[in-house]
């Protein structure tokens, strides 16, 4: 990316080597490099092939149920007494989260490449469920790696994946959460490199994944632009989304990055608090190299990766997508954080006021709407991405609230 392009637009990255400023790259074992180059080539070809786009559009409409509504959250707006709050309803997608947008793209790509064995990592299980779903739809073998701790706290999704015909492998190594699931998926890929397509669930990993996954998720922001123009005759004033790896956030943000007047907020998981165990890589981490890219990481002084903690398995990751790291450094996006308790409170408020059970991940974004909206004037248009639905979190929340189900 030339210096000129960089100053004129926030949307030109990455460069041909997969860098967003100093972040990104291709830090993988040699065994995987030929595959990654093959994937990059296949994706570049697919991007410009009208038949690929036609396929995507057709399944987006008829299988996933897009476009997802942009919904005016009237009671939430009244309750908060400030900004006019809109929900981008990604939780209404087939499988109940934004994850399916990306998985559809990658599975159609895998089919083009002739790969019949699909592997994925998953935290909350939403990406695993989406991958298992599309593998079922296209008759592909599906293996999902999931940290043993997450298998325990996301039982409904584990069962869903099994019903869809996927093999769920509980990962016992390391901290037994999302980062270890990703390690194990990479170990599988390095072993079965010629037959296997690795369907990464977020905007992380080696180039071209961060850019490719972002492109597939940009449907969220593109629709939001059109829908807001229809609803209000103008663009929104602020955007809010939760950030773990950051795919739902970049999908909403990216189409608006060059509209300089729009405030953009990414909400990291502050867990028990930023001075305690948390998962806020940008707020509490430093640049390092993990899982194929350079980004902000939670680590100790020796570069050893530290345990992340969040109530939400989907945000429980010690890193963040490299494009977010760059947007943080250049100051285009404001990265803030919400604690476990704030997310839990937001979950309950949203359920009661709007009749929508948001995922614990999305509840982090809603928590910051609750904080920011009252400070804004009534003509301020605020969009929050409801990235997933909360049904999967019911057993966990019931346990925390001391309820028996």
């Amino acid at each position: 990316m030339s210096a000129k392009a960089q100053t004129n637009s926030y949307r030109t990255g990455p460069d041909e080597r997969g860098h967003f400023g100093m972040f990104g790259g291709r830090f993988v074992a040699e065994t995987l490099m030929p595959n990654i180059l093959e994937l990059e080539k296949a994706y570049e070809e697919a991007k410009t092939d009208p038949s690929f786009k036609a396929d995507m559009d057709s399944y987006m409409t008829h299988y996933i149920g897009r476009p997802s509504p942009l919904y005016f959250a009237e009671r939430m707006t009244e309750h908060l007494g400030g900004a006019k709050v809109y929900f981008k309803r990604e939780e209404l997608n087939h499988t109940g989260a934004h994850k399916v947008n990306n998985v559809l793209g990658q599975i159609l790509l895998a089919r083009r490449m002739g790969k019949k064995r699909i592997i994925a990592e998953t935290g909350a299980g939403q990406h695993g469920v989406a991958t298992a779903t599309l593998c079922a739809r296209f008759g592909l073998e599906c293996i999902v790696y999931m940290g043993a701790v997450d298998v325990e706290r996301q039982k409904p999704n584990v069962f869903r994946m099994k019903m869809l015909g996927a093999e769920v492998v509980p990962v016992q190594s390391g901290t037994k959460t999302l980062k270890d699931a990703m390690n194990e998926a990479l170990r599988d890929w390095v072993t079965n490199v010629s037959t296997t397509f690795y369907c990464i669930g977020t905007v992380a990993g080696p180039h071209p994944y961060p850019a490719m996954v972002r492109d597939f998720q940009c449907v969220i922001g593109n629709e939001t632009r059109e829908q807001m123009m229809q609803a209000e005759g103008r663009l929104p004033d602020s955007l809010i989304a939760c950030v773990g790896g950051g795919s739902n956030a970049i999908g909403l943000f990216h189409p608006f990055l060059d509209d300089r007047g729009i405030e953009i907020y990414g909400v990291e998981a502050a867990g028990h608090g930023l001075d305690k165990l948390h998962a806020a890589s940008l707020t509490g981490g430093r640049p390092g190299v993990l899982h194929g890219n350079r980004t902000y990481l939670l680590m100790d002084s020796d570069g050893q990766i530290q345990d992340a903690h969040s109530i939400s398995a989907g945000l429980d990751y010690p890193g963040i997508g490299p494009e977010h790291a760059w947007l943080h450094d250049v100051g285009r996006v404001n990265y803030i954080s919400a604690t476990d308790q704030e997310a839990l409170d937001a979950f309950q408020l949203c359920s009661k006021l709007e009749g929508i059970l948001p995922a614990l991940e999305s509840s982090h974004a809603i928590a910051k709407v609750i904080e920011l909206a009252p400070k804004k004037p009534k003509d301020h248009l605020m969009v929050v991405n409801i990235s997933g639905r909360g049904d999967k979190d019911i057993p966990q929340i019931a346990e925390i609230l001391g309820a028996k189900i």
Binding site: V190, T191, S194, S301, D302
Partner: protein
């Protein structure tokens, strides 16, 4: 000046045999036992020693090396202590080449320039960093070569003839051929395919080609030694070590000997194959 790596391969060639390269994790199961193991390796028949730098997330390693890294980290191992181990080893042994092997993040966080200076001063000869393919040569490979440290590259079964020149371009010391597509300590390779692959790589480079991944005993080492300039053994040594630990994963009186016994077996395997006729 001839490097320690070149000198050691020359010596092996003169003896008409392949080199034995041994990998152990620095600091596993504790600092002092680890040092005792390291200093016993050359006496037991190791020609080149590789010391693993522990990392929490070793994406290309199997369960044995993952567990070894975690044992080492639990004991407080870090990059500073690993370089100290190298210094102590170097005081006693000025000739055996030392290779540090690991992942980029601990080096990046230590600081690339500072790491290269300290590693060179400690007596390190070469580096193997698993997650730095040629596409990322600017990060460490080129600075390492400038600092006088060999950056040893991994070539794999997926590295085809078209890609090999890029992989070999900035490599030095030797080429490490990964015998399987997979993680360390997993499948035993097909020895016939391995020797074909070694011949293929040798057509592209004058550097010695050593082979690792899946080598478990003297017989495997002998089979590989027929075609390759060296044999690397890691997970098998770590498994031997692990087998002697007590229930709290502490070293016992048998720990050092279990490793050296296997190294002797591997060394006999390597030495049983005469390469004089071929040379």
């Amino acid at each position: 000046m001839t490097s320690r790596i070149e000198a050691r391969f020359e010596k092996c060639r003169a003896e008409g045999r392949a080199a034995l390269v041994t990998y152990v994790m620095a600091g596993d199961p504790d600092l002092e036992t680890s040092f005792e193991i390291m200093r016993s390796l050359p006496k037991a028949g190791a020609d080149i020693v590789e010391f693993g730098m522990p990392f929490t997330d070793p994406m290309a390693d199997g369960p044995a090396i993952q567990a070894a890294g975690l044992r080492s980290l639990k004991g407080g191992q870090n990059t500073v202590k690993t370089l100290d181990l190298v210094r102590r080893f170097r005081k006693e042994d000025g000739e055996t080449p030392i290779i540090l092997m690991g992942y980029f993040n601990p080096i990046y966080v230590y600081g690339v320039e500072r790491f290269l200076t300290d590693a060179k001063e400690a007596g390190v000869d070469g580096l193997i960093v698993v997650d730095l393919p040629p596409e990322e040569d600017d990060e460490l490979c080129l600075p390492a070569l400038k600092a006088g440290l060999a950056f040893i590259r991994l070539a794999t079964p997926t590295t085809d003839d078209k890609r090999l020149p890029a992989v070999l371009a900035n490599t030095a010391g030797f080429v490490y051929y990964v015998s399987i597509t997979g993680i360390t300590g997993a499948a035993t390779p097909d020895f016939g395919q391995v020797s074909t692959a070694v011949e293929r790589i040798k057509r592209h480079t004058p550097l010695p080609v050593v082979v690792g991944f899946g080598v478990k005993n003297g017989a495997h080492a002998a089979a590989i030694a027929k075609g390759a300039d060296g044999v690397v053994v890691g997970s098998a040594l770590i498994n031997a070590l692990k087998g002697t630990l007590d229930s709290d994963e502490r070293a016992t009186s048998r720990t050092v000997e279990a490793v050296t016994t296997l190294v002797k077996d591997l060394s006999e395997g390597v030495r049983s194959v005469s390469k004089r006729a071929a040379a």
